[in-house]
Protein backbone atom coordinates (compact mmCIF):
# COMPACT_ATOMS: atom_id res chain seq x y z
CA UNK A 1 0.00 0.00 0.00
CA UNK A 2 2.82 2.39 0.80
CA UNK A 3 5.74 2.63 -1.54
CA UNK A 4 9.33 2.21 -0.43
CA UNK A 5 10.10 5.78 -1.25
CA UNK A 6 7.23 6.90 0.99
CA UNK A 7 8.55 4.83 3.84
CA UNK A 8 12.10 6.09 3.38
CA UNK A 9 11.00 9.66 3.04
CA UNK A 10 8.96 9.52 6.24
CA UNK A 11 11.76 7.78 8.12
CA UNK A 12 14.12 10.52 7.06
CA UNK A 13 11.63 13.12 8.28
CA UNK A 14 11.48 11.32 11.60
CA UNK A 15 15.24 11.12 11.88
CA UNK A 16 15.61 14.84 11.25
CA UNK A 17 13.05 15.73 13.90
CA UNK A 18 14.76 13.17 16.13
CA UNK A 19 18.11 14.92 15.62
CA UNK A 20 16.62 18.15 16.89
CA UNK A 21 15.09 16.54 19.95
CA UNK A 22 18.25 14.58 20.64
CA UNK A 23 20.46 17.67 20.52
CA UNK A 24 18.25 19.43 23.01
CA UNK A 25 17.94 16.39 25.22
CA UNK A 26 21.73 16.18 25.44
CA UNK A 27 22.02 19.44 27.33
CA UNK A 28 18.99 18.74 29.49
CA UNK A 29 20.10 15.32 30.57
CA UNK A 30 23.49 16.49 31.80
CA UNK A 31 21.95 19.27 33.87
CA UNK A 32 19.25 16.98 35.18
CA UNK A 33 21.81 14.34 36.02
CA UNK A 34 23.69 16.71 38.29
CA UNK A 35 21.05 19.04 39.67
CA UNK A 36 17.75 17.16 39.30
CA UNK A 37 16.46 20.23 37.51
CA UNK A 38 13.99 20.12 34.65
CA UNK A 39 15.44 23.14 32.99
CA UNK A 40 12.56 24.78 31.16
CA UNK A 41 14.84 27.68 30.33
CA UNK A 42 16.58 25.29 27.94
CA UNK A 43 13.69 25.77 25.51
CA UNK A 44 14.20 29.52 25.59
CA UNK A 45 17.74 29.03 24.28
CA UNK A 46 16.33 27.59 21.05
CA UNK A 47 14.42 30.79 20.47
CA UNK A 48 17.30 33.02 21.47
CA UNK A 49 19.73 31.08 19.28
CA UNK A 50 17.48 31.22 16.25
CA UNK A 51 16.98 34.97 16.53
CA UNK A 52 20.66 35.52 17.24
CA UNK A 53 21.60 33.89 13.93
CA UNK A 54 18.79 35.75 12.24
CA UNK A 55 20.20 39.06 13.30
CA UNK A 56 23.90 38.51 12.84
CA UNK A 57 23.68 36.43 9.68
CA UNK A 58 20.73 37.87 7.81
CA UNK A 59 20.80 41.41 9.14
CA UNK A 60 24.44 42.10 9.97
CA UNK A 61 25.73 39.90 7.19
CA UNK A 62 28.40 38.03 9.09
CA UNK A 63 29.28 34.88 7.21
CA UNK A 64 27.61 31.65 8.11
CA UNK A 65 30.51 29.75 9.60
CA UNK A 66 31.38 32.69 11.82
CA UNK A 67 27.73 33.11 12.73
CA UNK A 68 27.48 29.52 13.81
CA UNK A 69 30.58 29.81 15.96
CA UNK A 70 29.21 32.99 17.44
CA UNK A 71 25.85 31.44 18.20
CA UNK A 72 27.55 28.58 19.98
CA UNK A 73 29.52 31.04 22.05
CA UNK A 74 26.50 33.20 22.68
CA UNK A 75 24.37 30.27 23.78
CA UNK A 76 27.11 29.09 26.08
CA UNK A 77 27.39 32.52 27.62
CA UNK A 78 23.64 32.67 28.19
CA UNK A 79 23.69 29.30 29.92
CA UNK A 80 26.56 30.42 32.08
CA UNK A 81 24.73 33.60 33.01
CA UNK A 82 21.58 31.73 33.98
CA UNK A 83 23.59 29.48 36.22
CA UNK A 84 25.54 32.25 37.85
CA UNK A 85 22.64 34.67 38.28
CA UNK A 86 20.09 32.36 39.78
CA UNK A 87 20.58 28.65 39.79
CA UNK A 88 23.78 28.72 41.80
CA UNK A 89 22.21 30.64 44.62
CA UNK A 90 19.27 28.26 44.71
CA UNK A 91 21.33 25.11 44.91
CA UNK A 92 20.69 23.63 48.27
CA UNK A 93 17.23 25.15 48.43
CA UNK A 94 14.04 23.23 47.73
CA UNK A 95 14.07 21.49 44.35
CA UNK A 96 10.75 23.09 43.53
CA UNK A 97 12.28 26.55 43.77
CA UNK A 98 14.81 25.61 41.14
CA UNK A 99 12.10 24.25 38.86
CA UNK A 100 9.89 27.30 39.23
CA UNK A 101 12.83 29.60 38.66
CA UNK A 102 13.60 27.87 35.40
CA UNK A 103 9.97 28.30 34.42
CA UNK A 104 10.25 31.95 35.40
CA UNK A 105 13.30 32.28 33.18
CA UNK A 106 11.48 30.74 30.30
CA UNK A 107 8.54 33.11 30.74
CA UNK A 108 10.91 36.04 30.99
CA UNK A 109 12.84 35.20 27.85
CA UNK A 110 9.74 34.43 25.82
CA UNK A 111 8.07 37.69 26.71
CA UNK A 112 11.26 39.66 26.40
CA UNK A 113 11.63 38.30 22.87
CA UNK A 114 8.02 39.13 22.22
CA UNK A 115 8.65 42.69 23.31
CA UNK A 116 11.95 43.23 21.57
CA UNK A 117 11.52 41.20 18.41
CA UNK A 118 7.75 41.27 17.90
CA UNK A 119 4.97 38.81 18.53
CA UNK A 120 4.99 38.00 14.81
CA UNK A 121 6.82 35.03 13.45
CA UNK A 122 9.94 35.90 11.46
CA UNK A 123 10.75 34.20 8.24
CA UNK A 124 14.14 32.59 8.30
CA UNK A 125 15.68 32.06 4.91
CA UNK A 126 17.73 28.98 4.45
CA UNK A 127 21.16 30.05 3.15
CA UNK A 128 21.31 29.25 -0.56
CA UNK A 129 23.84 26.43 -0.38
CA UNK A 130 21.78 24.77 2.31
CA UNK A 131 18.64 24.98 0.20
CA UNK A 132 19.85 22.96 -2.77
CA UNK A 133 17.23 20.36 -3.68
CA UNK A 134 18.07 16.80 -4.55
CA UNK A 135 15.46 14.62 -6.15
CA UNK A 136 16.04 10.94 -6.57
CA UNK A 137 13.54 8.25 -7.30
CA UNK A 138 13.53 7.29 -3.63
CA UNK A 139 14.03 10.50 -1.73
CA UNK A 140 13.54 14.21 -2.08
CA UNK A 141 15.71 16.23 0.22
CA UNK A 142 17.67 19.41 0.57
CA UNK A 143 21.21 20.08 1.61
CA UNK A 144 19.92 21.45 4.93
CA UNK A 145 18.54 17.99 5.72
CA UNK A 146 21.96 16.50 5.19
CA UNK A 147 23.48 19.34 7.17
CA UNK A 148 21.17 18.71 10.11
CA UNK A 149 21.87 15.00 10.20
CA UNK A 150 25.62 15.40 9.75
CA UNK A 151 26.04 18.28 12.18
CA UNK A 152 23.85 16.61 14.80
CA UNK A 153 25.75 13.37 14.58
CA UNK A 154 28.98 15.31 14.69
CA UNK A 155 27.91 17.26 17.77
CA UNK A 156 26.75 14.10 19.48
CA UNK A 157 29.99 12.40 18.58
CA UNK A 158 32.11 15.29 19.86
CA UNK A 159 30.00 15.59 22.97
CA UNK A 160 30.41 11.91 23.65
CA UNK A 161 34.11 12.16 23.05
CA UNK A 162 34.29 15.11 25.40
CA UNK A 163 32.40 13.32 28.10
CA UNK A 164 34.33 10.08 27.69
CA UNK A 165 37.83 11.25 27.06
CA UNK A 166 38.50 14.64 28.55
CA UNK A 167 39.30 15.44 32.11
CA UNK A 168 36.38 17.85 32.35
CA UNK A 169 34.01 15.39 30.73
CA UNK A 170 34.89 12.61 33.12
CA UNK A 171 34.57 15.07 35.98
CA UNK A 172 31.12 15.96 34.71
CA UNK A 173 29.97 12.37 34.75
CA UNK A 174 31.52 11.85 38.16
CA UNK A 175 29.73 14.91 39.53
CA UNK A 176 26.45 13.62 38.16
CA UNK A 177 26.94 10.34 39.94
CA UNK A 178 28.19 11.53 43.31
CA UNK A 179 28.59 15.20 43.94
CA UNK A 180 30.18 14.84 47.34
CA UNK A 181 32.92 12.45 46.34
CA UNK A 182 33.56 14.51 43.22
CA UNK A 183 34.13 17.42 45.49
CA UNK A 184 36.54 15.30 47.53
CA UNK A 185 38.55 14.59 44.40
CA UNK A 186 39.22 18.29 44.15
CA UNK A 187 36.73 18.83 41.36
CA UNK A 188 35.36 22.37 41.44
CA UNK A 189 31.77 21.26 41.32
CA UNK A 190 30.41 24.72 40.61
CA UNK A 191 32.64 25.05 37.61
CA UNK A 192 31.54 21.68 36.29
CA UNK A 193 27.88 22.60 36.65
CA UNK A 194 28.44 25.94 34.95
CA UNK A 195 30.15 24.13 32.11
CA UNK A 196 27.24 21.72 31.80
CA UNK A 197 24.86 24.64 31.49
CA UNK A 198 27.12 26.39 29.02
CA UNK A 199 27.55 23.34 26.79
CA UNK A 200 23.89 22.40 26.81
CA UNK A 201 22.85 25.95 26.09
CA UNK A 202 25.37 26.32 23.29
CA UNK A 203 23.97 23.21 21.62
CA UNK A 204 20.40 24.42 22.18
CA UNK A 205 21.17 27.78 20.58
CA UNK A 206 22.73 26.00 17.62
CA UNK A 207 19.63 23.82 17.37
CA UNK A 208 17.64 27.03 17.10
CA UNK A 209 19.55 27.78 13.91
CA UNK A 210 18.92 24.29 12.52
CA UNK A 211 15.24 24.68 13.33
CA UNK A 212 15.00 28.01 11.55
CA UNK A 213 16.95 26.86 8.53
CA UNK A 214 14.89 23.70 8.21
CA UNK A 215 11.38 25.03 8.73
CA UNK A 216 11.85 28.59 7.53
CA UNK A 217 10.02 30.45 10.26
CA UNK A 218 10.97 31.39 13.80
CA UNK A 219 8.86 32.91 16.54
CA UNK A 220 9.23 34.15 20.08
CA UNK A 221 7.38 31.13 21.47
CA UNK A 222 8.99 28.39 19.36
CA UNK A 223 11.00 26.95 22.24
CA UNK A 224 8.46 25.89 24.79
CA UNK A 225 6.79 22.79 23.45
CA UNK A 226 10.03 21.70 21.82
CA UNK A 227 11.80 22.07 25.15
CA UNK A 228 9.17 20.06 26.96
CA UNK A 229 9.35 17.33 24.33
CA UNK A 230 13.10 17.28 24.63
CA UNK A 231 12.71 16.61 28.32
CA UNK A 232 10.27 13.84 27.50
CA UNK A 233 13.04 12.43 25.33
CA UNK A 234 15.38 12.62 28.30
CA UNK A 235 12.98 10.67 30.49
CA UNK A 236 12.16 8.13 27.81
CA UNK A 237 15.86 7.53 27.21
CA UNK A 238 16.67 7.41 30.90
CA UNK A 239 17.61 10.49 32.89
CA UNK A 240 21.25 11.29 33.25
CA UNK A 241 22.20 8.92 30.45
CA UNK A 242 23.79 10.59 27.46
CA UNK A 243 23.19 7.77 24.99
CA UNK A 244 19.70 7.58 26.46
CA UNK A 245 19.00 11.20 25.60
CA UNK A 246 19.92 10.56 21.98
CA UNK A 247 17.92 7.36 21.75
CA UNK A 248 14.97 9.09 23.42
CA UNK A 249 15.18 11.95 20.93
CA UNK A 250 15.12 9.64 17.95
CA UNK A 251 12.33 7.52 19.39
CA UNK A 252 10.16 10.60 19.83
CA UNK A 253 10.99 12.08 16.44
CA UNK A 254 10.22 8.84 14.64
CA UNK A 255 7.09 8.18 16.69
CA UNK A 256 5.72 11.62 15.88
CA UNK A 257 6.34 11.39 12.16
CA UNK A 258 5.59 7.74 11.56
CA UNK A 259 2.35 7.81 13.51
CA UNK A 260 1.09 10.55 11.24
CA UNK A 261 2.47 8.84 8.19
CA UNK A 262 0.96 5.42 8.72
CA UNK A 263 -2.18 5.99 10.74
CA UNK A 264 -5.31 7.27 9.01
CA UNK A 265 -5.17 11.05 8.64
CA UNK A 266 -7.68 11.79 11.37
CA UNK A 267 -5.14 10.53 13.90
CA UNK A 268 -2.97 13.57 13.21
CA UNK A 269 -4.61 15.19 16.19
CA UNK A 270 -3.05 12.56 18.42
CA UNK A 271 0.47 13.77 17.60
CA UNK A 272 1.34 15.20 21.00
CA UNK A 273 -0.87 12.66 22.72
CA UNK A 274 1.27 9.91 21.24
CA UNK A 275 4.48 11.53 22.45
CA UNK A 276 3.21 11.76 25.99
CA UNK A 277 1.53 8.38 25.77
CA UNK A 278 4.95 6.88 25.05
CA UNK A 279 6.31 8.80 28.01
CA UNK A 280 3.74 7.42 30.44
CA UNK A 281 4.13 3.93 29.05
CA UNK A 282 7.89 4.02 29.46
CA UNK A 283 7.61 5.45 32.95
CA UNK A 284 5.25 2.72 34.03
CA UNK A 285 6.98 -0.21 32.39
CA UNK A 286 10.57 0.88 32.72
CA UNK A 287 10.80 3.83 35.08
CA UNK A 288 14.52 4.21 34.59
CA UNK A 289 14.05 4.80 30.88
CA UNK A 290 15.18 2.81 27.86
CA UNK A 291 18.91 3.22 28.54
CA UNK A 292 18.89 4.44 32.11
CA UNK A 293 20.54 2.97 35.15
CA UNK A 294 18.16 1.98 37.89
CA UNK A 295 18.24 4.55 40.63
CA UNK A 296 18.94 3.16 44.06
CA UNK A 297 16.41 3.89 46.72
CA UNK A 298 18.25 4.30 49.99
CA UNK A 299 16.49 3.36 53.18
Amino acid sequence: MFSWSYFLQQTMNGVILGCIYALLALGMTVVYGILRLINFAHGALITVGAFFVYFIFFRAGINLAASLLLVLGFGGLMGLLLDVIAYRKLRGGPEVALLITSLGFYTFVENFMKMVVSPQPYSFKTPAYLAVMYKTSLLTFRSIDVFIIVSSLLIMFIFNLFVKKTRMGIAMRATAENLEVAHLMGIEVNRVIALAFALGSAIAAFTGFLWGAKYGQIAYDMGFLTGVKAFVAVVVGGVGSIPGAMVGGFVLGLAEILSIAFLPTRFAEYRDGIVFGILILVLLLRPSGLMGVKEEVRV
Partner: protein, 234 residues
Protein backbone atom coordinates in the same frame (compact mmCIF):
# COMPACT_ATOMS: atom_id res chain seq x y z
CA UNK B 1 53.13 17.05 58.97
CA UNK B 2 49.59 17.37 60.27
CA UNK B 3 48.51 18.93 63.48
CA UNK B 4 44.95 19.05 64.73
CA UNK B 5 44.26 21.12 67.78
CA UNK B 6 41.07 21.16 69.86
CA UNK B 7 38.91 20.23 66.93
CA UNK B 8 35.16 20.40 67.51
CA UNK B 9 32.71 19.57 64.71
CA UNK B 10 28.96 19.77 64.99
CA UNK B 11 26.11 18.54 62.84
CA UNK B 12 23.64 21.29 63.44
CA UNK B 13 23.67 21.43 67.20
CA UNK B 14 24.96 17.94 67.77
CA UNK B 15 28.65 17.79 68.50
CA UNK B 16 30.13 14.79 66.71
CA UNK B 17 33.74 15.49 67.65
CA UNK B 18 34.79 17.39 70.74
CA UNK B 19 38.17 18.90 71.49
CA UNK B 20 40.19 16.36 69.62
CA UNK B 21 43.89 17.01 69.14
CA UNK B 22 46.27 14.81 67.25
CA UNK B 23 49.52 14.97 65.33
CA UNK B 24 50.81 12.95 62.42
CA UNK B 25 54.51 12.94 61.70
CA UNK B 26 56.00 12.75 58.23
CA UNK B 27 56.24 9.21 56.93
CA UNK B 28 54.14 7.73 59.72
CA UNK B 29 51.10 5.55 59.67
CA UNK B 30 48.74 6.85 62.33
CA UNK B 31 45.48 5.14 63.21
CA UNK B 32 42.32 6.53 64.72
CA UNK B 33 40.36 3.76 66.40
CA UNK B 34 36.94 3.61 67.91
CA UNK B 35 33.58 1.93 67.77
CA UNK B 36 30.69 2.91 65.52
CA UNK B 37 29.72 6.53 65.84
CA UNK B 38 32.80 7.56 67.78
CA UNK B 39 33.50 10.48 65.45
CA UNK B 40 36.32 8.99 63.41
CA UNK B 41 34.89 9.73 59.98
CA UNK B 42 33.89 13.23 61.07
CA UNK B 43 37.46 13.93 62.09
CA UNK B 44 38.76 12.84 58.68
CA UNK B 45 36.17 14.89 56.84
CA UNK B 46 37.11 17.95 58.83
CA UNK B 47 40.77 17.43 58.00
CA UNK B 48 39.80 17.16 54.36
CA UNK B 49 37.68 20.32 54.59
CA UNK B 50 34.40 18.73 53.61
CA UNK B 51 33.05 19.61 57.03
CA UNK B 52 33.74 22.93 58.66
CA UNK B 53 34.93 22.76 62.25
CA UNK B 54 32.96 24.68 64.86
CA UNK B 55 36.22 25.46 66.59
CA UNK B 56 39.83 24.34 66.62
CA UNK B 57 42.69 24.56 64.21
CA UNK B 58 44.14 22.30 61.56
CA UNK B 59 47.61 22.91 60.27
CA UNK B 60 49.41 21.03 57.58
CA UNK B 61 53.12 21.34 56.92
CA UNK B 62 53.14 24.28 59.26
CA UNK B 63 50.39 26.11 57.40
CA UNK B 64 46.98 26.83 58.87
CA UNK B 65 44.48 25.16 56.54
CA UNK B 66 41.42 25.37 58.77
CA UNK B 67 39.50 27.44 56.24
CA UNK B 68 40.95 26.12 53.00
CA UNK B 69 38.65 24.59 50.36
CA UNK B 70 38.88 20.84 49.74
CA UNK B 71 40.14 21.31 46.21
CA UNK B 72 43.01 23.44 47.47
CA UNK B 73 43.82 20.85 50.09
CA UNK B 74 43.95 18.28 47.34
CA UNK B 75 46.41 20.52 45.53
CA UNK B 76 48.47 20.80 48.69
CA UNK B 77 48.79 17.04 48.75
CA UNK B 78 46.03 15.74 51.02
CA UNK B 79 43.77 12.97 49.72
CA UNK B 80 40.88 11.16 51.33
CA UNK B 81 39.74 7.65 50.48
CA UNK B 82 36.19 7.82 51.78
CA UNK B 83 34.34 5.23 53.79
CA UNK B 84 32.39 2.92 51.54
CA UNK B 85 35.03 3.78 48.95
CA UNK B 86 32.98 6.35 47.02
CA UNK B 87 33.75 4.72 43.72
CA UNK B 88 32.01 6.24 40.71
CA UNK B 89 30.12 3.11 39.78
CA UNK B 90 29.17 4.17 36.26
CA UNK B 91 32.69 5.19 35.26
CA UNK B 92 35.41 2.81 34.16
CA UNK B 93 38.28 1.86 36.40
CA UNK B 94 40.70 4.03 34.49
CA UNK B 95 38.35 7.00 34.51
CA UNK B 96 38.05 6.67 38.27
CA UNK B 97 41.81 6.68 38.57
CA UNK B 98 42.21 9.69 36.29
CA UNK B 99 39.72 11.62 38.41
CA UNK B 100 42.06 11.14 41.33
CA UNK B 101 44.56 13.23 39.41
CA UNK B 102 41.93 15.81 38.55
CA UNK B 103 43.58 18.73 40.27
CA UNK B 104 46.99 18.08 38.77
CA UNK B 105 48.35 19.14 35.44
CA UNK B 106 50.90 17.59 33.14
CA UNK B 107 49.68 14.66 31.16
CA UNK B 108 53.00 12.83 31.07
CA UNK B 109 53.47 12.83 34.81
CA UNK B 110 49.92 11.64 35.32
CA UNK B 111 50.38 8.80 32.87
CA UNK B 112 53.55 7.85 34.67
CA UNK B 113 51.72 7.79 37.98
CA UNK B 114 48.96 5.77 36.40
CA UNK B 115 51.56 3.19 35.44
CA UNK B 116 52.84 3.18 39.01
CA UNK B 117 49.36 2.64 40.40
CA UNK B 118 48.87 -0.19 37.95
CA UNK B 119 52.16 -1.64 39.10
CA UNK B 120 50.92 -1.48 42.65
CA UNK B 121 47.54 -2.98 41.73
CA UNK B 122 48.02 -5.22 38.70
CA UNK B 123 44.42 -6.34 38.99
CA UNK B 124 43.23 -2.81 38.23
CA UNK B 125 45.22 -2.74 35.02
CA UNK B 126 43.58 -5.95 33.88
CA UNK B 127 40.21 -4.32 34.43
CA UNK B 128 40.91 -0.77 33.40
CA UNK B 129 38.11 -0.65 30.82
CA UNK B 130 35.62 -2.30 33.14
CA UNK B 131 32.77 -0.32 34.73
CA UNK B 132 33.78 0.22 38.33
CA UNK B 133 30.40 -0.80 39.70
CA UNK B 134 31.04 -4.37 38.60
CA UNK B 135 34.24 -4.82 40.64
CA UNK B 136 34.34 -6.94 43.78
CA UNK B 137 34.56 -5.28 47.19
CA UNK B 138 38.30 -5.82 47.50
CA UNK B 139 38.93 -4.54 44.01
CA UNK B 140 36.85 -1.49 44.71
CA UNK B 141 38.92 -0.75 47.78
CA UNK B 142 42.06 -1.10 45.66
CA UNK B 143 40.57 1.26 43.17
CA UNK B 144 39.71 3.78 45.88
CA UNK B 145 43.25 3.57 47.19
CA UNK B 146 44.70 3.87 43.73
CA UNK B 147 42.48 6.84 43.00
CA UNK B 148 43.68 8.49 46.19
CA UNK B 149 47.29 7.92 45.13
CA UNK B 150 46.66 9.48 41.73
CA UNK B 151 46.51 12.90 43.34
CA UNK B 152 50.14 12.32 44.34
CA UNK B 153 49.36 12.92 47.99
CA UNK B 154 51.84 13.52 50.73
CA UNK B 155 49.17 12.78 53.30
CA UNK B 156 46.67 10.03 52.59
CA UNK B 157 43.55 9.77 54.72
CA UNK B 158 41.92 6.32 54.71
CA UNK B 159 38.45 5.85 56.14
CA UNK B 160 37.76 2.27 57.26
CA UNK B 161 39.65 0.61 54.44
CA UNK B 162 38.97 -2.88 55.79
CA UNK B 163 35.22 -2.42 56.09
CA UNK B 164 33.30 -5.37 54.69
CA UNK B 165 36.38 -7.15 53.35
CA UNK B 166 37.28 -10.76 54.03
CA UNK B 167 40.31 -11.27 56.35
CA UNK B 168 42.55 -12.44 53.53
CA UNK B 169 41.76 -9.39 51.48
CA UNK B 170 42.35 -7.18 54.50
CA UNK B 171 45.81 -8.65 54.90
CA UNK B 172 46.60 -7.95 51.25
CA UNK B 173 45.27 -4.45 51.62
CA UNK B 174 47.43 -3.63 54.61
CA UNK B 175 50.46 -5.00 52.85
CA UNK B 176 49.74 -2.50 50.11
CA UNK B 177 49.27 0.30 52.60
CA UNK B 178 52.70 -0.42 54.03
CA UNK B 179 54.19 -0.32 50.56
CA UNK B 180 52.55 3.03 49.94
CA UNK B 181 54.13 4.37 53.07
CA UNK B 182 57.49 3.10 51.88
CA UNK B 183 57.05 5.34 48.85
CA UNK B 184 57.07 8.29 51.25
CA UNK B 185 53.38 8.89 51.77
CA UNK B 186 52.18 9.76 55.25
CA UNK B 187 49.03 7.90 56.19
CA UNK B 188 46.26 8.67 58.64
CA UNK B 189 43.75 5.87 58.81
CA UNK B 190 40.50 5.28 60.61
CA UNK B 191 39.63 1.77 61.62
CA UNK B 192 37.15 0.00 63.76
CA UNK B 193 39.10 -3.21 63.52
CA UNK B 194 41.73 -2.30 66.10
CA UNK B 195 44.06 -5.28 65.91
CA UNK B 196 44.49 -4.89 62.18
CA UNK B 197 45.19 -1.19 62.41
CA UNK B 198 47.51 -1.49 65.39
CA UNK B 199 49.53 -4.09 63.59
CA UNK B 200 50.27 -1.65 60.79
CA UNK B 201 50.56 1.71 62.49
CA UNK B 202 53.22 3.70 64.30
CA UNK B 203 50.87 5.51 66.60
CA UNK B 204 47.18 5.26 67.44
CA UNK B 205 44.42 7.38 68.93
CA UNK B 206 41.23 5.89 70.35
CA UNK B 207 38.03 7.90 70.18
CA UNK B 208 34.89 7.29 72.16
CA UNK B 209 31.70 9.27 71.68
CA UNK B 210 33.53 12.10 69.99
CA UNK B 211 36.35 12.57 72.44
CA UNK B 212 39.84 11.23 72.70
CA UNK B 213 40.09 8.37 75.20
CA UNK B 214 43.49 6.85 74.66
CA UNK B 215 46.55 7.31 72.57
CA UNK B 216 49.91 5.69 72.33
CA UNK B 217 52.24 3.44 70.40
CA UNK B 218 50.78 0.12 69.30
CA UNK B 219 52.99 -1.72 71.76
CA UNK B 220 51.47 0.28 74.56
CA UNK B 221 47.94 -0.39 73.38
CA UNK B 222 48.68 -3.89 72.27
CA UNK B 223 47.38 -5.55 75.40
CA UNK B 224 44.07 -4.34 74.08
CA UNK B 225 42.51 -4.36 77.50
CA UNK B 226 41.77 -0.65 77.52
CA UNK B 227 40.79 -0.73 73.94
CA UNK B 228 38.49 -3.60 74.62
CA UNK B 229 36.87 -1.63 77.38
CA UNK B 230 36.25 1.25 75.05
CA UNK B 231 34.72 -1.07 72.50
CA UNK B 232 32.74 -3.52 74.54
CA UNK B 233 32.29 -1.73 77.78
CA UNK B 234 33.38 -3.32 80.95
Amino acid sequence: MLKVENLTVKYGVIPAVMNVSLTVGRGQIVAILGANGAGKTTTLKAIMGVLRPASGQISYQGEDITHMSPSNRVRKGIALVPEGRGIFNRLTVEENLLLGAYSRSGNDVIMKDLKEVYALFPRLEERKKQIAGTLSGGEQQMLALGRGLMSKPQLLLLDEPSLGLAPLVVRELYATISRIREQGVTILLVEQSAAVALGASDYAYVLESGSLKLSGKPEELKSLEDVKRVYLGG
